[in-house]
């Protein structure tokens, strides 16, 4: 089947899915949704696998109303990589969601709509990867944004959720505005709406601005620094399977877009690379510093997504620097690290969101200060969260280390091939940034895991938490299996990534096979070392077991330093754990306290409340003031939208008049 036919079939499967979802009883809706997602995933995975093995899948759709008429449908290895990631994460999300939504069974209509938008969400993300034609691309992009918005506001009765949803919608449309401007400029420049025609404009000296427009459009989706403010609101508000999929793949589509446009650049690689590299280091640091101090575990995970986008961006910037300095090995390490991290992050972040979702379902709180000791009641979930936490910190034995290793190798190679002092200093600062990001992510994930799952329960919960159901745990087993396969056989995945880089960046000079061989052997060594380390651990445990077998093992309470009445609330909390860190980075994460001063007239003590919170510096001091000014100015134009049909008719008249005058005086051609 040709790939354009596949697009049509997916459309029909989606429409069929809507009909099926609306006729079946509530009980089977989740099943239908899973089936539709799986069918669409299979349909699109087959050409993707072919594309990954080197056969670019091309097809055309004929839409005579659109400029250009012929719509190219294309799955090359880059889009295939993203499509496979989308499919994997979406299937897992659907499986997890079918269990997660069981506790919302009373919201019957919500759930039906939720599943309809879920299958639309899945297929629109895939369409985004397939279409080259600007208008169709934008339509798919818009479908994706709208459907994910509907998924985010699942609990729309909750005001905070609705607010987060509106915030998300506005920011996504800002992204669309930038992309649309980019496409229109592209059309006037080249006469074609195809994204791939970017390659032919770039010789002009203003082409960099088209690139900037596209970059901002995609960066809003990806969550690069000043455009990140939607993430920490949307992720916590969405149901957990949706946050898992959103964090796992929807932000990656921004990365996909950036990959696409940088593959069409054919000049100024070096400076663009340096800009992206600096921006990404700052993004990563800002994200993880905020993640370390947040009390809301889903918010913390959302900030951590920003961090990982930064890490991916470091790889992209490094890759561009590699192309710019004619040093293909740096380019391969950079792009390879970035692409592998896209996969890795989609795995461990969805794992973390799923296991965090299980916790939320059982405890109905996102505040870590109210949790504790969950490892005893939810051991499997705790295990999965720990796996995700170790992997996201880039620790060895897990997949995160592989991509971070590639990035470090690339950065160190970049150091050696330095051209000029500023470049070397930028690279060494990026290394410092990446190291600090690793260290801070250990702080934030020891905090999250330690406070949520270890110790004693800090508050009394409504009901005793139980282990999540099998259908919720099942996708997490699959994710962990795939994560470990990357950690133990990285050379296999790196080989595919290498093919993608080959075909996406034809500008790369002839590849140096010896050095690639060295990277491959290093990765193989790391894979083997992980196995050996596990063997070493096993030996150590066996020795310990044999030694301790016959000895006296007793248990008693935790030593309280002589204090005889310890209460669970006196345990170290998330706030106290991150306090000294927060003070150290007080210029980024500012703590505010919420309390009323005791008035002098108050004779008898009453019950009082005291709370602290950290706010997002950029949102408060950059984005919000700007928004306030804009809405203040926009107030003056409110008279235009006055609700009177008569004036709207007049506007039409004005428009016709302007067009008429314009043509008469040859202002419009």
């Amino acid at each position: 089947m040709e790939v354009s036919q596949i697009v049509l079939v997916t459309l029909f499967v989606f429409l069929g899915g809507i009909i099926a979802l609306s006729v079946v009883s509530e009980k089977h809706r989740a099943l239908i949704a899973i089936i539709v997602v799986v069918i669409n995933a299979l349909l699109t995975s087959i050409p993707s696998v072919l594309a990954l093995s080197g056969q670019v899948q091309l097809g055309t759709l004929l839409l005579p109303h659109l400029p250009g008429q012929v719509i190219n449908v294309r799955i090359d290895s880059l889009s295939a990589w993203f499509i496979l990631i989308i499919n994997f994460t979406s299937i897992n999300g659907a499986l997890f969601g079918s269990g997660y939504l069981k506790s919302y069974q009373h919201l019957k209509t919500n759930i039906g709509f939720h599943w309809i938008f879920y299958i639309l969400f899945h297929i629109s993300m895939i369409w985004v990867c397939m279409f080259d034609h600007g208008i169709i691309f934008l339509i798919s992009w818009e479908l994706m944004s709208i459907s994910s918005l509907m998924l985010v506001i699942f609990e729309y009765q909750n005001k905070a959720t609705l607010k987060a949803g509106i915030n998300y919608m506005i920011q996504m449309h800002l992204s669309v505005v930038f992309l649309t401007m980019g496409f229109i400029w592209l059309y006037t420049e080249t006469g074609s709406f195809n994204l791939s025609s970017l390659a032919s404009v770039v010789s002009n000296n203003h082409s960099i601005w088209i690139f900037v427009l596209f970059f901002i459009g995609f960066a809003i989706k990806a969550g690069f620094l000043p455009f990140h403010t939607w993430l920490p609101h949307a992720h916590p508000s969405a149901p957990s399977h949706v946050s898992g999929v959103m964090s796992g793949v929807i932000v990656k589509l921004g990365i996909f877009g950036i990959f696409r446009i940088i593959s069409y650049i054919n000049h100024d690689w070096f400076i663009i690379g340096e800009v992206i590299l600096s921006l990404s280091v700052i993004t990563a640091l800002y994200g993880i510093i905020n993640a370390a101090v947040k009390y809301d575990f889903k918010k913390s995970l959302a900030f951590c997504t920003i961090e990982n986008i930064g890490i991916i961006g470091i790889g992209m910037g490094l890759g561009l620097i590699g192309i710019g300095t004619q040093n293909e090995i740096i380019a391969i390490l950079g792009f390879g690290g970035a692409l592998l991290h896209v996969l890795n992050h989609s795995l461990f972040k969805s794992l973390l969101f799923f296991s965090a979702g299980s916790v939320y379902q059982q405890t109905h709180t996102r505040n870590i200060e109210k949790l504790g000791g969950l490892i005893k009641t939810m051991p499997v979930t705790a295990f999965f969260f720990l796996m995700g936490a170790l992997a996201i910190g880039g620790l060895p034995l897990f997949n995160g280390f592989i991509s971070e290793y590639l990035l470090y190798s690339g950065l160190f190679k970049g150091l050696l091939s330095g051209t000029g002092i500023s470049h070397v200093i930028l690279i060494v600062l990026s290394i410092v940034g990446l190291v600090m990001v690793g260290g801070i992510s250990i702080i934030s994930f020891t905090k999250l895991f330690g406070v949520m799952f270890l110790g004693n329960p800090r508050t009394e919960l409504q009901h005793e938490p139980r282990e999540a159901s099998f259908i919720m745990l099942f996708p997490q087993y699959i994710i962990v299996a795939l994560m470990l396969s990357i950690a133990f056989f990285p050379q296999f995945y790196f080989g595919h990534v290498l093919d993608i880089i080959h075909s996406t960046f034809p500008n790369l000079v002839a590849l140096n096979n010896v050095q690639i061989g060295v990277i491959n052997t290093n990765l193989t060594t790391i894979g083997h070392l992980s196995l050996y380390f596990i063997l070493l651990l096993l030996v150590a445990f066996v020795v310990r077991f044999i030694l301790l077998r016959k000895r006296k093992i007793s248990s008693c309470e935790t030593w309280g330093c002589g204090y005889v009445a310890p209460v669970p609330k006196a345990q170290y909390t998330g706030r106290s754990y991150a306090r000294s860190f927060g003070n150290l980075f007080g210029f980024v994460v500012i703590e505010r306290k919420n309390f009323k001063r005791i008035s002098k007239a108050l004779l008898y003590p009453t019950s009082r409340k005291f709370s602290t919170y950290y706010f997002d510096l950029l949102e408060k001091y950059l984005v919000m003031p700007l928004m306030k000014r804009i809405s203040f100015v926009m107030n003056y134009f409110q008279f235009i939208q006055n609700g009177k049909i008569q004036s709207y008719v007049i506007y039409g008249l004005f428009f016709i008049l302007i067009v008429f005058i314009g043509t008469v005086f040859h202002l419009i051609k």
Partner: protein, 301 residues
Amino acid sequence: MLSFLLIILVSIFFMGLVIRTKSLASGRKGPGILQPMKDIVRLWKKGSVYSTTTSIIFRIAPTVYFSSIIMAILMIPHGNQPGIISFGGDFVLFAYILALGKFLMIISALDTGSSFEGMGASREALFSMLVEPAFFIIMGSLALFTGHTSFYDMFSVLNYGSYISYLIGALSTFVLILIAMIENSRMPVDDPKTHLELTMIHEVMILDNSGFDLGVILYCTPLKFAMYGALIANFFIGSLPLQISLPLFFAIQIVFAVTVGILESFMARFRMSHNPQFIFILTSVSLLIFFGVLLVLGKFI
């Protein structure tokens, strides 16, 4: 293999030397060189008491911590003899595998549900995060200096040409000594001998460990010291033949142990809130090293 055996050998008497130096500095005779190791072996023969609050994490963490350090030691070369594990960029694995052990120790401290141990865990996480950049900048400078990215290649190529490169070696040694002190929670940042839980870092994390597990954790300290000592020794061994490098190795380790003892005898512990500044100094000194390397290579334009 040679380097691994040497480090294990040194780890047996390292703490004894430190304690002996401290005793002599304070005018006492002090225990035998092997006394700290005997204490650890005595702990290895004991059973354990576990807190009822703890979970499996608490039981596996010390063993993982120990194994991670063993794994890291396997990567350290001895002059022109490569470590058992050696590949391009192995120092990244070195730093990250140590971080894996630390991660487990931190969460095992949180596992006890004690506020003291949580405090220690928080400090340990913060300080080791702050130390890490200094190590990576030194490794980056060495990589830039030698053009290689694995421990073995860097150290076997390392040879000093100009005066500035001696300065680089001296500064790197200084930074590595202090990194070792911080990683092992020794004097300028932490005092393992203090008896006030509020002022401790590493010791307060392991308040609840006992018996075998405590022995394993305590043995990790001399192991880590010997490991950093071996790294420092590698700065000076270069590609000397074995008959010179072996005595040099032991001499450097002994000098290192005595230095640690002297530092601990004559320095007061910093106030906890001043520790971050102190650790940041390490990063800036390592940046100095980096600029020194740039100077040597003539990259300052």
